[in-house]
């Protein structure tokens, strides 16, 4: 705006314009008209809002509707082996997941993994863990691990963050294994104990056939049942250990695939960086005194290349140790 008169007119117009207003009575009349029209607006029913999620988690939500909120609330404190534990893991947590924004899904599933670990710790502290509890726990854990891995695959987080997340999964599995006494070292011991028990039972059974003394046979029988129970327990443990191992392998596969992706990206990054340096050097050499430039640039380029190589080596060492 270069015309001074136009500028001045705009200012005057603005001042006059802003003083134009409705009188108090006009405002009151208008207000009562408006508020008379707006009060009876129908609010959408809360169930209507739910219908969207009904499509997202149908089974879970229908169960939720049938069983009702009090049950689902009570289920929150349940532990593996409890009747309500499945309500907690299959319904409550799934319904909650449907409300978690996409970008926070991965974090949510990780918090569930941590929850699983603390659940099994509580059970271990209380004493012996029953087979039902183990089965429940293993199912829930398997579900959570695949959820986290799936969420990580579609995650848009930085690679370092995702790497850390993958490690969280493996760590959660390791802790659970430890708590259950299923870790590698004790595992081998357990296996040998289990083997010796089985062979003991076999010999006892042979002996049992030939024994005539009933009382003695009864004692042997009791002992045998106890031993059998123990063996079954050991076998269950073995089964669980195998499940854990396969689960851990799934998590480790996902992790190593991710590490591989990262290292490929790193190599590409370094390669393009080296290209840039060479290009820069060429430009400088061609643009200035050739002999002087080549000696100074040779050393500077070498130093930078050496730094890059060192960086690359460190990166791969770190990545290896992560694996």
């Amino acid at each position: 705006m270069n015309n001074p008169k136009l500028q001045k007119d705009i200012e005057n117009f603005e001042n006059a314009y802003k003083q134009v207003s409705l009188s108090v009575s006009e405002k009151e009349n208008l207000k009562s008209n408006i508020f008379g029209r707006i009060t009876p607006v129908a609010q959408p029913s809360p169930f209507f809002a739910w219908s969207f999620y009904l499509r997202a988690v149908p089974a879970a939500l229908i169960m939720f509707a049938i069983i009702g909120a009090p049950v689902s609330f009570a289920a929150e404190r349940s532990l593996p082996g409890d009747v309500l534990y499945k309500v907690k893991t299959n319904i409550n947590e799934e319904v909650k997941a449907a409300f978690v924004p996409k970008e926070e899904k991965n974090e949510y599933y990780q918090s569930l993994l941590t929850k699983r670990v603390s659940e099994i710790k509580i059970l271990a502290r209380e004493g012996e863990i029953k087979k039902d509890a183990l089965v429940d726990f293993e199912e829930a854990l398997e579900e959570n691990v695949s959820d986290v891995i799936l969420a990580l695959e579609v995650s848009e987080d930085s690679e370092e963050d995702t790497l850390e997340d993958h490690q969280v999964v493996v760590a959660a599995l390791d802790i659970s294994e430890d708590v259950l006494g299923l870790s590698e070292e004790t595992g081998e011991l357990d296996a040998s104990v289990s083997f010796s028990i089985i062979s003991e039972i076999e010999t006892k059974e042979e002996v049992d056939d030939k024994d005539i003394d009933e009382k003695k046979a009864e004692d042997e029988q009791v002992e045998l049942v106890e031993l059998k129970e123990e063996t079954e327990k050991e076998n269950d443990k073995k089964e669980m250990r195998e499940k854990f191992r396969s689960l851990r392998n799934v998590a480790l596969d996902a992790l190593s695939k991710h590490v591989e992706d990262i290292s490929n990206t790193r190599v590409e990054e370094v390669e393009s960086l080296v290209d840039d340096i060479v290009l820069e050097a060429k430009e400088e050499i061609l643009g200035s005194d050739f002999t002087n430039a080549s000696t100074t640039l040779d050393s500077s380029v070498r130093i930078r290349l050496e730094q890059e190589v060192e960086f690359l080596v460190n990166e791969s060492v770190e990545l290896d140790s992560d694996l």
Binding site: M1, N2, N3, K5, L6, D9, I10, N12, F13, E14, A16, Y17, K18, Q19, V20, S21, L22, S23, E26, K27, L30, K31, N33, I34, F35, R37, I38, V41, Q43, P44
Partner: protein
Amino acid sequence: MEMLYDAYVDDIFRYLMFRIRDKEKALDLTQEVFVRMWQSYLGKGKDVEFPKALLYRIAHNLLVNSYERDVHHSSLDTLSEAGFDIADNSQDISKTIIASDLNQMLGLIEKKDSDLILLRHIEGFSVKEIADIHGVSENVISVRLHRALAQLEDLYNKKEKNE
């Protein structure tokens, strides 16, 4: 909603009044703007980040519809005949506005262009806010605004030359 009404009723009325130039119609449309704000947004519990811009947008849409219905609207110089006697103290103000060169010149350029100049330079909206109100991109508003202002300035220069 009541706070919104108290804060912006004058702005919305003024906006409509200066464009439709009919006090009764402007009052009706002002009422409609607030009713629609409630029915389409606040009453449904929608979160409105910039209520002022949204009110203007509703007002703008209502105006466009009203223009389509009533093609033969009057120009700014007939404001007084159309009952531009808003508050008691507004008589002198309205005369000042009607008599101003700017008002005459704005009557000579295209309606949508004069609207942009009023929004930007009289009502003080940013280009982005005007783009929101008109429902077009900022670029479109910038270009149109620049062209409208150049046209207005040209009219001023011509008038000065003649004098």
